[in-house]
Symmetry: C2
Subunit: 133 residues, 2 copies
């Protein structure tokens, strides 16, 4: 899988305002089982710092901006989310760290499964070791 | 069904930031088939102006605030959404109009079905007539 895969949301922009939409198993390549968002993140804070074994997610800054550091165990990339209609797909086995949150940033995430602590890889060395196999 | 039903999201607030979460068919009383959000709505704009025959939705202002005018054909209510962890459940057969969007408002909606134009009731008199039966 690609380290960085952008996800362009369907959106309608008009003088009456903008609408951005994602449909489960239509444009979103999975059934949306969980929706969550982060807000009021201090600009110096780094979030994430984990990978997932099976979970796929789509992340989009619906307000403000933040950056993602992505790492598949071999390559690394940094991307900035700064558009409410352009997100990224977070595939399994990608280490992610989010940083540089603007004070107004709201980061929305659509996830393919309910919360499951057993799906998290929270130790970077363990992640690197697994990626080397 | 009640005209106004609040939906309190599970949320975690800490000095590292806030997380708000909703899980399909766990706390959310339906399978999330569609997620959409409105942004950049002019403060003088009125959105919505329809009811749904079968669709159930949850709406929350993840940033800023806006107000909902709700009407079940018998009673009317106006509520303000101004918290990222307190939304409302929009049941079927409720006429809704959204107004007083702050310039920074992002209104997130979780919906129980994919988009279906046939599910919309866009004529208020037809809505009132159906509600009277």
């Amino acid at each position: 899988v690609p380290l960085v895969e952008w996800f362009l949301f369907h959106h309608v922009d008009s003088p009456e305002g903008s609408l951005v939409v994602a449909q489960s198993e239509v444009d979103v390549p999975f059934a949306i089982k969980r929706v969550y968002f982060l807000h009021s993140i201090p600009p110096t804070q780094v979030r994430g710092k984990h990978a997932h074994k099976a979970l796929t997610q789509i992340a989009v800054a619906v307000k403000g901006s933040c950056s993602f550091h992505l790492d598949d165990g071999h390559d690394q990339a940094d991307v900035k989310l700064d558009s409410p209609s352009r997100g990224i797909i977070l595939h399994p086995n990608i280490w992610r760290e989010m940083y540089d949150f603007t004070p107004d940033c709201v980061l929305l995430i659509l996830a393919s499964a309910h919360f499951d602590e057993a799906d998290y890889i929270r130790d970077y060395e363990a992640f690197k070791h697994a990626a080397r196999r």
